[in-house]
Amino acid sequence: MAAETGTPTTLTLKSNDDELFSVAESAAILSVTIRNMVEDGCAGGVIPLDNVDGKTLASVITYMNGISAIPADEEKKKSYRDKFLSDKDFETLADMVLAANYLNMSCLMDAVSAKIAQVMEKKSVGWVRRKFGIENDYTPEEEAAVKEEHKWTFEGVETDDDN
């Protein structure tokens, strides 16, 4: 419809902590979840996004606007994504990957997953457990045995930086 009238359609998105955001429909439909809602006729009112908080949604919208402003040039899109994620800490990246998954945005999902992988690559097992909220369900003997199977992979592990 937007193309016919010449004025871009704007959508209003609502985060789970009741913040409202305006975003061009052309950028917002990078999210398959939002696109489906638009196609189902939700676009007239406010689109509620129950799994995303305001802080994360603001960041996702920055990304949507940034990436959709770049013409079809995969190199440039890739370098935009790299720059966009470069200064984000683990907690922010974790919120982003959950949001990207919920919003069904595969390009953001890929980029954030790769970034988290890059951050954790040289970290210790303990660091990963703390950051991912995972309980160690091995007995000390079991864990030692699993470690022994690939002992060389524990060379070059970084010292934990979070405590």
């Binding site: 998954n101 997953s113 040289k122 097992v125 995972i134 060389w152």
Partner: protein, 365 residues
């Protein structure tokens, strides 16, 4: 509490290098079972393979050391370093077998597994350099009947139909004419003799090139020189032999051709001694109209050692650049500006041969 659902964990972990994944088997029991899950291993490999910066790719090389004893050894070199020209010293690699007689030779790699021939094919080894696990195969000529036969062709690949890795070995059946062949299956861990009615003329390059489930060799026909030749294929799944049509314009010229694989596609390199090497790629397997010439390497860029005595091979790298192995030298071609450059490796000069593998968790059991 756990902050990610399982599918997001899998998304993140499938982007880690193999070394980190083996370390993180210690995180929890569910992580350990995810990391050894077949589907996970497959999607991890697919993502590693598609990485446009080739950060999971390595070159494996055989070097010959004259001192202290004449012995071949293996080293590996990080593929992105070779392309970027930063630091590309070959690294020592923990080759699993210490005391072997004769030379080691890289047959081929497939899904992160490297097939090594020891002492001219008397022994074979399947090896995953990323997990450092290996398997020594049973000897191929274990029955008296096949003793003293010369291995003339071999190859390594993955048979999707039976989800199995296979090593192919063709012997010259001395005195009796014809060729006999055996196939090793990782699944059954044994060699099996197969019907294979090829004549002895598959000798252009011993190593079969694995593309699209089939091994390929250049085959000489009855002609005075290389002018009559074709591409012979052997299907690892069905055992069916066939032919692949080559670019028509080359059928009658006097080039000496060799086969290679680039980005999963079959290539033919037409080496015209002292002039150039033409590289053709079959974009769509089995479709003869899809042959495209991608580059001609003029002789001035070729290394001084006579390249015609070696089999050139190649692989694709970051930004669509192509790495050539010509004799004991590497050459990089950049299609964007149509230029060539020679990457340098310190510490070591000549290597005997080189292949490329992509990191994977693929297991040998």
């Amino acid at each position: 509490a756990e902050i990610f659902p399982e599918e997001i964990i899998a998304e993140i972990l499938s982007r880690l290098p193999v070394k980190s994944l083996l370390k993180f088997r210690c995180v929890s029991k569910s992580w350990r079972s995810l990391i050894s899950d077949k589907h996970f291993i497959k999607s991890h490999l697919q993502i590693s393979r598609k990485d446009t910066n080739f950060t999971r790719h390595w070159i494996i090389q055989t070097f010959l050391f004259e001192n202290p004893i004449r012995k071949q050894s293996l080293k590996r070199c990080y593929l992105p370093s070779l392309f970027s020209g930063l630091s590309s010293d070959p690294l020592e690699i923990d080759f699993p077998i210490e005391n072997y007689k004769g030379g080691v030779w890289v047959v081929d790699s497939c899904n992160g597994l490297v097939c090594i021939s020891i002492n001219e094919g008397r022994h074979f080894l399947l090896w995953n350099p990323s997990t450092r696990k290996y398997k020594k195969l049973a000897d191929v000529d274990d029955d008296d009947d096949d003793r003293m036969k010369l291995i003339i062709i071999y190859g390594f690949g993955f048979d999707e139909s039976s989800d199995d890795y296979k090593v192919f070995c063709g012997f010259s059946n001395r005195g009796r004419g014809g060729t006999i062949a055996k196939i090793y299956s990782l699944r059954t861990d044994s060699w099996k003799r197969i019907e294979f009615l090829e004549e002895d003329n598959l000798g252009l390059d011993a190593t079969g090139k694995f593309v699209s489930g089939k091994l390929h060799w250049g085959r000489r026909n009855n002609g005075p020189d290389y002018s009559n030749w074709d591409v012979f294929s052997f299907d690892l799944g069905t055992g069916v032999c066939g032919n692949v049509a080559q670019p028509l314009s080359y059928v009658e010229t006097g080039f000496s051709p060799s086969l290679s694989v680039l980005d999963g596609c079959l290539c033919v390199l037409y080496n015209s001694p002292r002039t150039s090497v033409d590289v053709w790629i079959m974009k769509e397997y089995g479709v003869s109209e899809s042959w495209v010439r991608i580059v001609t390497v003029p002789y001035m860029h070729l290394p001084l050692s006579n390249p015609s005595i070696h089999t050139p091979s190649l692989c694709v790298g970051p930004k669509g650049e192509i790495l050539f192995k010509l004799g004991s030298d590497f050459l990089i071609y950049s299609p964007n500006d149509n230029r060539f450059r020679c990457p340098k490796m310190r510490s070591f000069g000549a290597f005997l041969e080189a292949g490329v593998y992509c990191e994977s968790l693929v297991s040998l059991v």
